[in-house]
């Protein structure tokens, strides 16, 4: 009797779920694979959008939950969250006995998944390695590359970089980014397919979206977390000056989240922002559909670099968080500066044209990755190629 390969995917945050969702679907549908889904860290927490609810609504069964986010205003908490993650994921892996563990991208706590798997001699697959951003994520990302046995990159540049890092080229695959799979489906529909206010609640006024709107999503940057309040205020002031209908999304958990959140909250208490509505979170599909009809996306979300590039949505990318990432021509880079942001929005509004790009893949990453997970040799022993 042939046994299914057990593929354990660890999701630690809402954006990671959006990013890996089509992989989960493809694994679940694959007749030779068994999906073991572990939900941990901020993916379990209400105040960061509780990804776990969406995951269950999407029909995925959860094998284990791990609460490991340590509360704190400083970077110590990020380190400790990772330590607790290793401690507990080891137990989870010891009980689930997966054949392969999959870790996604480069958030600090994904290191816990990578270390637990690597130390327990479980073959480790890394999705979205080899990218460049110039922040703490980069330490995490390349460090995980050196722990991983298989690499599923999002672009050809990323694949080449992973190989230069000394990985065996036969284990490095440019599958494209799974998030593009979703974006591809979204483009099948034109115009808003839902009422954001009704479906997602949120707080603040409800500007008329038919007149055009911008979307804001800006996360704190770990290496600059002491400035996170100042950074968010530049954007807040720009939006206030533009006075255009705006849909604003709360940041996800990170050292410095409190600075960003506090900045938004204080600004709201000080000014009457009649053109802005705030959302805590939104299902990935709806968010992309929302972006597809937006004037532009403002902030530093990787969605702007990635999905928006495939969809051709204009993006005003603020600050250093997405530095050096591969990008299409849809992106305008600006610094943490109110006036630069305003100027960029005006430029986009006046041009009104869109350009698409396949730099992050053609929309079939999920199935490509699942197929590889079935056939790749099970191995956890490697050596640098030079």
């Amino acid at each position: 009797m042939s046994q299914k390969r057990k593929i354990c995917v660890v999701i630690t945050a809402r954006p990671s779920y959006s990013r890996i969702k089509t992989v989960l679907t493809a694994i679940k549908a694959h007749e030779s694979l068994e999906l073991q889904l572990v939900i941990a860290a901020s993916a379990l927490l209400d105040r960061y959008g509780s990804a776990v609810n969406y995951i269950q609504k999407d029909g995925f069964e959860i094998s284990a939950k791990v609460f490991n986010v340590l509360e704190g205003e400083n970077l110590t908490a990020a380190a400790k969250t990772t330590g607790i993650g290793i401690l507990e994921l080891s137990t989870v892996f010891d009980n689930l006995k997966p054949d392969i563990v999959v870790t996604v991208a480069d958030r600090f706590e994904t290191m816990a998944t990578a270390i637990a798997a690597a130390y327990m001699n479980i073959p480790l697959a890394h999705v979205q390695g080899g990218e460049v951003t110039g922040n703490i994520d980069e330490k995490v990302r390349h460090s995980i590359t050196k722990l991983a046995d298989y690499h599923f990159t999002s672009s050809e540049n990323a694949r080449n970089r992973v190989i230069r890092l000394g990985e065996n080229p036969e284990m490095v695959f440019n599958t494209g980014c799974p998030s593009i799979d979703i974006a591809k489906k979204i483009l099948e529909h034109q115009g808003l397919t839902f009422d954001p206010y009704e479906k997602y609640g949120g707080v603040g006024s409800k500007p008329d979206l038919n007149k055009g709107y911008v979307v804001v999503m800006q996360h704190p940057v770990t290496t600059e977390y002491k400035d996170s309040r100042k950074h968010i205020e530049a954007t807040l002031n720009a939006i206030r000056q533009l006075n255009v209908p705006t849909l604003w999304f709360w940041p996800n958990v990170d050292a410095g989240a409190d600075g960003t959140s506090t900045g938004i909250r204080s600004f709201r208490e000080k000014y009457d922002m009649q053109n802005v509505h705030f959302f805590k979170n939104m299902e990935g599909d709806d968010f992309l559909n929302l972006l597809d009809s937006a004037i532009c996306l403002i902030g530093n979300s990787s969605v702007g670099i990635r999905e928006c590039s495939f969809m051709g949505v204009p993006v005003i990318n603020i600050g250093s968080r997405q530095n050096r990432r591969d990008r299409g021509t849809n992106v305008i880079d600006v610094s943490y500066d109110e006036n630069e942001i305003v100027a960029a929005v005006n430029q986009i509004s006046s041009k009104n044209e869109r350009t698409r790009s396949d730099v992050y893949g053609g929309g079939d990453a999920g199935e490509a990755i699942a197929d590889l997970l079935e056939t790749l040799p099970l191995q956890f022993h490697k050596t640098i190629t030079y």
Copy 2:
């Protein structure tokens, strides 16, 4: 008023201490540096030779102790030990507030030091990166390189490899290995300077060392830990066959240590090994002095590759643990095979000549590293060079 830079060195095992000792001495002696010494993991445990006692005897003051070795017969314990290490070292760093953290080599639990420092935006220096061994240590070693801000390598090959890993060449220094500093001093004396039986006790018979003796030190290999008992038995049988005076050292802590230890213990209960004496541990200086007068070193200790190369002591290196490490002509590589080991000992005995090499440095690494720690810019933000 100028403040001293606080340099926090984390020692997690007896061999790491031997390896970093001259760096500690140089930091302590440096008028612009303050040494913060943290002792953790097996360095605190009696059954692995309790490095902490030697450290205190050598006159170093300890800033904090962290017990974090989880007991267990499998690799899960190694992962969990690392998780607990991160959790606790974060607190230690938060309280000590070092300017630079120094982590040594590539044992699994050193990852805890690296992650805690990197995540807390404390500049991280890594000693002995860039080497190649082809085992789990390699995942750890290169992964730490990608987290570290400064690199002090032991050889020119290692330096080049760190640079190929995308590190800024201006932050990568071939200082040579600090363990060579000690070996250099040892060579000043000829012949045994102490009586091993009297000074270190140990168990077993006490063969006459004047007739020549071999030294054995063989650790389990993490990626092969299920075979550790079989591997140690090949060596035990070889020693039994050779019937030469033998000084045998217990292995250090690792997944699989129990297999190795059990193998030795059972063999001793089965056979009356009149030519073998067992030591739990020995001070680094004495160990090198002992090697200097030995016929050869047998096993897989990195001392054989490193210090013995500088000293010109013949080494029979068994199995994969030191694969691909730079080595001098003093090393004969054999597999886990009784007869190969016997043949190699006979070959050495018949030749009776020694060759020295500077591949791991010239014996001034400690001071070189301390000087760099004083002058390097304090930074924790980096990006890959390609």
Copy 3:
């Protein structure tokens, strides 16, 4: 040479600090005692009032900080916070080597202090044992009594209860509650000694305090945390109905804090509460001075039962949190019911009289406890008395 006894006090929350402050002062002033102050859990967190800032401002030196609050919406987080606390406090105690550890009251995470000390054979002193409340705190409180070696109770009833629990009567002392020491000093001044709006900021309108005002402080109850939102809404509605100047304090961290916080936040967004000002926190002295001039205190804070009893401030005590605690005649007990709360405020306003009580001590607990800590035999071995 005689050595000072090292007394390690672990503070895990803002209210615990207020409660133990005069003990800290007395230990620090005591010539035979050395104070080792450890700050942990929510006492370090900004969003719960960051007690650590007040502690430093009050001139106490901190020996170690331990971040251990795990984030989460459920009770799992409370358990895990305690686990991490034990793990880290063990290391702290191992490094500080205290002669006696002091733990305060009955918050869930104080169990970590008690277990670490008891398991490490460090004599453990418990302040405020033997009280009855009928909630989860009671499990914690009596459980700690069974781990502690010395008991400093706040009332005679509490002392008797600790003795009935099988503790050696010679180790159980009714010292009175140290919080009364502060209340005693406060009574020396009449009228508000500071401007709360100016000194503590906060948000909301700024009602005129000269016309009389009420103070609200209501925490979620662990065993009822699913109802915490409904419970807080009863109080919010009562305050809205009364339309009296109100100073409202945010709750401290607990499972369920989110329900309480969310309830307050939503209510504020829905209604324009012109008579209410919200504070995040206040220094203990100022808070008592504020209460001394208030019409009454509303909520479930133990301050109402304890300090207010000594001061004679009328208290409307809501729900089960203070059930069965010893109380003076200053307390009116009501259920989670808008109308009951309104009626009680009206009753107090019409009566306008105050009655004091010494049920929680006479105001010299701090010195009494410090004196005992000097002279009690150092012991950690005990047996039940029956």
Copy 4:
């Protein structure tokens, strides 16, 4: 549709398994109960007899394993093991969602089970509360009583003591000790039913058991762990002096285990003990059968107090570990003194009579407890009765 109650039993050591086994069998057989078995701590470790193997051989399915024993020579390790236990058991309970958690006896790490359950509002049942021993276990035992909701005691004295501790008498049941259930079955057979040397291996000589033999099982005492080596040497010397066939069992894990183990090992290396055979562990049934035919049991195991009392086996109980436990007339108490031990063995040998007692129950505790677990109200809220 009626759902089965999920009963989660946490086993943390080999002796706890023997003690609770008939409860597990009765829960498993009960049509209204579902057994969730969690194996943790030393019950997973080879060097303490790996209870997990016996458990699986006995046909119990394991729901989760938790490795949490921290290695160390001091009490710090016991505290940290407990902290890690809480951290991980919380996750296990969060995933298994039991209706009732059962914790057994009073080993230090059982506190982890109790705290995780109590803090998560899961009704907690405690087996073997209310006993008196005068050591650290007593702190643990009574502390757990104050956290538990249901109490299944082993004797009437114990039941009364739990009630005096302020527990609701309706929730305190003298079920007798489940270990007696096994002893009852053992008595059905007379004489040794197996060959200990053949079945359990072990080391040392193989004295002839037909001439009569003594059994030794002596654990280190936590509060006296610095003396554990001296204590074990008194017993070793007594056995050497008596020169009677002896079957000796290694101690279980505890702070101080190393002192005891080292003592035994050194003694063996020094003296040729021709009359002694050493076992690492033995299945509970076989051990009782072995005791049933022995001259006497020597040491401080609770088996001597408990099962041996029911079986009428003479016991020489050494030191303080079983102080104040209820006992039958089969027990002779001695101190850590070679000559006292020798005299007691001689006295037993000369008398040669046996007396049975039902002080620890009549042998039906397993079923009684399972029946209670089915019918007791699910509650986690309690208050002290006075």
